[in-house]
Symmetry: C2
Subunit: 413 residues, 2 copies
C-alpha cells in the first residue's frame, strides 16, 4: 500500500461525463489498496470564461481580485468530483488552499508556495478519506487567495506529493507521455518511458509543455517521482525521475521547437565595460526573460548584440532596448518575430562530444541557416527561421537515431 497523488487537468474534468470516468479511475486506484490524494484543475473552458469576465470588467484588473475570481474554477471541480466520489462510496473531502495552509508569497497570478501544512492531510488519509484538493491556488500572508499561473495545478500536485512523501505524483493529462519530439510535427516521434528532471526542464524550456516547469523543479529538489499519463487510457506514461536512476542513458532524449520567442538586435554597441549590463538592466527590472544572447564584434570595434525574449514581451522589450540603445550610444534596434528555437536535449550529451557538430551538419544539408546558438550542459539550442522549424525537428529526430526507439527501443533503462 502506497500513497499516490493524482492530478487531473482541465480536459480530464471538462464535463460531468469525463469527471465520472475520473471518479471511476480514482475508485479503481483505491480498490487496489493505495491511498490517493486528488488534485484538480478547473473544467476546460472555465478559466477562460472567468478571465474574459475580468477583461470585460476592467482594462487592468486588480491581480488579487483576478486570483479570487479564477480560483472559483478549481473550487467547482473539487465540489463536483467529491459528489461523484461520494456516490461511489468514497469519503471524499474537498479542500481549498486555506484549509490545508498552502502558504505562498504575495505575487498574485504567479505566486510561489512557501509552505504546506501536511498534518491535516495526513489525518484525513489516516481516516481512510480521500482529500480532493483545488489546484492552482494558495493563500498569501494576508489570507488572500493567490494563484500559480496557467498549469499551476501541476505545482500544487508536486508540492503536496513532496510534502506527504508520496510514492509518486501522477500528472493525468490529455497526452500519454513525453515524446522524443512533438508527434503532431514528427510522426515518427516515440514516447519515452523515462526521462530525467533536467531533460524535461530543458525540453519544456524549448517549448514542449506537458507539465508545469515548477512542478518538475519541486519534484527534482525533493527527488519525487512524477509520472505523465493520459487520463483517457491505462498506458504507463512517462516517468520523470532522478538522472542516476536512468541506468543506461541514450545520447539524446528529445527535440523541441519553441515558436514563442522573438529576436531583438541592437546594432553598433560601443565596446565599453558595463555596456551590456546597462542594456539588460531595464529588461530585467521589467521582468522580461532574456534567453539566448549573441554578441558579434564588428570591424569598427563596435559590436552587434542580439537576444531572444518571449514573443508576448516583444513590444515592451523593444521599448526598453531602444531606450537603452540611446543611453549607451548604440545604433538602431531591430526585431524579428518569425524565428524558431530548436533544442536538442539529453543527459548523455555530457559524455559525448559532437552533438553540436551533428546538429550543424544535419541542418546544413537541408540548407537551414543558423542565426544563433546557445548551449547548456545537456542542451544545444539554435535559432532558425520559423518556416524551417518542422523540417528541422524531423531531420534532427532522424539524425540522432530517435526513430529507432519505435522498434522496441523505447525503454531507456
Amino acid at each position: 500500500m502506497a500513497l499516490i497523488v493524482q492530478k487531473y487537468g482541465g480536459t480530464s474534468v471538462g464535463s460531468i461525463e469525463r469527471m465520472r470516468a475520473v471518479a471511476d479511475r480514482i475508485a479503481a486506484t483505491r480498490a487496489e489498496g493505495d491511498d490517493v490524494v486528488v488534485v484538480l484543475s478547473a473544467m476546460a473552458g472555465e478559466t477562460t470564461r472567468l478571465v474574459e469576465l475580468a477583461s470585460e470588467a476592467s482594462k487592468e484588473p486588480n491581480a488579487a481580485c483576478c486570483d479570487l475570481l479564477v480560483s472559483t474554477g478549481e473550487q467547482i471541480s473539487i465540489a463536483l468530483m467529491s459528489m461523484l466520489l461520494a456516490d461511489r462510496g468514497i469519503e471524499a473531502v474537498p479542500l481549498l488552499a486555506h484549509q490545508i495552509h498552502i502558504h505562498t508569497d504575495d505575487n498574485h497570478g504567479r505566486a510561489r508556495i512557501t509552505k504546506i501544512d501536511d498534518d491535516f492531510l495526513r489525518e484525513l488519509i489516516g481516516q481512510g478519506r480521500v482529500p480532493v484538493i483545488a489546484g492552482f491556488q494558495g493563500v498569501s500572508s494576508t489570507g488572500a487567495i493567490t494563484t500559480f499561473g496557467r498549469g499551476g495545478s501541476d505545482v500544487t500536485a508536486a508540492a503536496v506529493a513532496a510534502a506527504l512523501g508520496a510514492r509518486t505524483c501522477d500528472i493525468m493529462t490529455d497526452v500519454d507521455g513525453v515524446y522524443t519530439a512533438d508527434p503532431r510535427i514528427c510522426e515518427r516521434a516515440c514516447k519515452l518511458s523515462r526521462i530525467s528532471y533536467e531533460e524535461l526542464l530543458e525540453l519544456a524550456d524549448g517549448g514542449a509543455k506537458v507539465v508545469h516547469t515548477r512542478a518538475v523543479e519541486i519534484a527534482a529538489a525533493q527527488r519525487l517521482s512524477l509520472r505523465i499519463r493520459s487520463s483517457f487510457s491505462d498506458e504507463e506514461g512517462t516517468w520523470v525521475i532522478p538522472e542516476e536512476d536512468i541506468m543506461e542513458s541514450t545520447l539524446i532524449s528529445g527535440i523541441s521547437a519553441n515558436l514563442d520567442e522573438a529576436k531583438v538586435a541592437i546594432r553598433s554597441v560601443p565596446d565599453e565595460v558595463g555596456v551590456v549590463a546597462r542594456i539588460f538592466e531595464p529588461l530585467a527590472r521589467a521582468g522580461i526573460n532574456v534567453d539566448l544572447i549573441l554578441q558579434n564584434l564588428a570591424d569598427d570595434g563596435r559590436h552587434d548584440l542580439t537576444f531572444t525574449v518571449p514573443k508576448n514581451d516583444l513590444k515592451k522589450a523593444l521599448a526598453h532596448a531602444e531606450g537603452a540603445a540611446r543611453v549607451v550610444g548604440a545604433g538602431r534596434v531591430e526585431a524579428a518575430g518569425d524565428i524558431a528555437k530548436i533544442s536538442v536535449v539529453g543527459i548523455g550529451m555530457r559524455s559525448h562530444a559532437g552533438v553540436a557538430h551533428t546538429m550543424f551538419e544535419t541542418l546544413a544539408k537541408d540548407n537551414i541557416a543558423i542565426q544563433m546558438i546557445g548551449t547548456s550542459e545537456i542542451k544545444v539550442s539554435i535559432v532558425i527561421d520559423a518556416k524551417h522549424a518542422e523540417l528541422a525537428v524531423r531531420t534532427l529526430h532522424k539524425a540522432f537515431g530517435l526513430e529507432q526507439r519505435a522498434d522496441g527501443e523505447v525503454s531507456r533503462a
Copy 2:
C-alpha cells in the same frame, strides 16, 4: 457620516454592465461621506447553472459539496465588483466568509449564523476601505463552507449590519419597495414608505417575498433599520422599522396571496385524545411545515382534519398522512393543490375589531367561498379556490381602503 450596509441582489449584478452601475452607486454613497459595506449575491443565473451541474453529477448531491459549489457564485461577484471599485479609486477588499469569521451551524444548505467576528471589518472600515462581502455563505465548525438557502445574501447583510451597528441595511433589489399588494395583480397597489418587522414577516409568510425572512428576524431582534430599495432607481424605497416607530398606524398595511401551498384533508378521524398529535408527529419529523389547520366535528362523533403544507412537500405529506390515517383508524385522505392563501396584515388590527368580518363580507359579495381560516395577532388568512386569488386581492385591497394611499396617503407616520 454613518455606516451603511448595502446588499445587491442577483439581477442587480446580473451582468458586467449592471455591476458598473452598482459600482457607480457605491462610489456615490462614499462621495456623500458615508462608510459603506457591500454584500453581494451571485450574478443572476449563476446559482442555477451551478445547481444544474450538481444535479447532473448526482441524484442526491452531498450537501456540503453543494455549498462549496454554489458559493463560488458570490465569490465571482465580489471579485468583479472589487475590480470595478478599484477602477473608481475605491480601495475595495473582497471578503469570503472565513476571512471575517461568519460562523454557522453545520446545516448545509440552510445554515444559521452563530457568530460574526466584526473586528477585521471595523479595522478595514477604519482604514477607509470598502469591504465587499460574499453573501449567502458562512463557515461551519469544521471550516467547511455553508450556505443559507436561496436569498441568503439578505441574511448576510442583516447579520453584518447588526454586528457593526450600522445605521441602516439597504436591500437593493429589482423592486422599489414593499407594496400594499402585488402590483402585478393589483394595479392600484401602493408602495409603503414604512412597515414594521412583524408585518413584513407576516406578508412574506403570505407569499410576498421581497426579502429573506431571517434577515427581517435578525433586524427585528437587533432593532436594525432595513430599507428595501430598487438598485435601478434613486427612490426612497420602504423602511422596515420597529413597530413603535410607526407613529400612527393604519389598520391594514398589505394583502398577500400565497399560491405555493396545498391542502390535505383526512376524513373521519376518531375523536380520541392524542389522535391529532399522532397524525402531525411524522410530518414534523419529516420537516414539513404545516400551516393552517382546520378541524370539523361531524355528526358521527368523528371529525375531518384539514391542513395546508408547502406544495413542494405535498407528495411527502400525503404519504405520511396516509400512513398516519391507517394507524389511527381514520378514513380516506384527500389533497388539493389548487388553493390560494390570502392574508390581510396590519399592526392596527390589534386595536380594531371587525377585520375578519369585513373580509368575509367582502368575499361573500363576490361569491368567493372560504375553505379555511387562520388568524394571528396582526394577520387574518383565508384559504380559497386558486382561481379566485387575484379577484380576492383586488376586492380586499379596495375594501380596506388601501387604494386611497395613492392620493398622497402613502406615508404611515
